[in-house]
């Protein structure tokens, strides 16, 4: 599972993830499957479960070349705002990255779980990865001007 590192309140680098389908039967353990073709898909979400239990959700953007299976999310300054009211699923669509007790303003590291959800053709719903989670590692900054 991958790890993405971000300094507290930063808005770059952009998170980029390449989605892969399961590897063919008989493949060696750890073998990546083929890239997941996003052609025909209609929904792309980044779900983050903060260490303290807060959940946030963001809309991702697919690469213009859909067969590449690449989704991106560019962090916004509002991601670091206090969270607004959660949606029906209990996830914050705006702000929230500092809302939980998991992000104290001290130097340190906090790790959160991430997954990416795709609604494909025929309303098929796929989650990547589906055998675990990627990690978002947010490191508190020393100072900010």
């Amino acid at each position: 599972m991958g790890v993405f590192v971000l300094k507290l309140r930063d808005t770059r680098p952009t998170l980029e993830v390449e989605l892969h389908d399961p590897a063919p039967m008989g493949s060696a353990p750890g073998t990546l499957g083929p890239v997941h073709d996003l052609t025909g898909s209609s929904g792309w979400k980044l779900h983050i479960h903060l260490e303290g239990g807060v959940k946030v959700v963001r809309t991702m953007t697919p690469d213009a070349t859909l067969p590449l299976g690449i989704l991106r999310y560019t962090w916004a300054t509002t991601d670091w705002d206090a969270a607004a009211a959660p949606d029906a699923n209990g996830s914050f669509q705006v702000g929230g990255l500092v809302a939980g007790p998991s992000l104290p303003l001290v130097v340190g590291t906090r790790e959160h779980r991430m997954e990416y959800e795709v609604v494909g053709a025929g309303s098929a719903r796929l989650t990547f990865p589906n055998g675990g989670y990627d990690t978002l590692r947010i490191i508190a900054d020393i100072g900010q001007s």
Binding site: T14, V17, P24, G33, P129, G131, D134
Partner: protein, 43 residues
């Protein structure tokens, strides 16, 4: 899931492996990701 096979030696038995881990079920491959930092903006 793994199964532990044990062999017990009797008098005069040849020495088999003390223990062998043998996979009995291999999960099918799942969806996976390659995660990276990018300088390409999501637009």
């Amino acid at each position: 899931m793994r199964r532990l096979w044990w062999w017990f030696l009797g008098d005069g038995d040849a020495a088999p492996p003390i223990a062998t881990w043998a996979p009995v079920a291999r999960p099918s491959g799942g969806n996976s990701t390659v995660l990276r930092a990018s300088t390409t903006e999501a637009s």
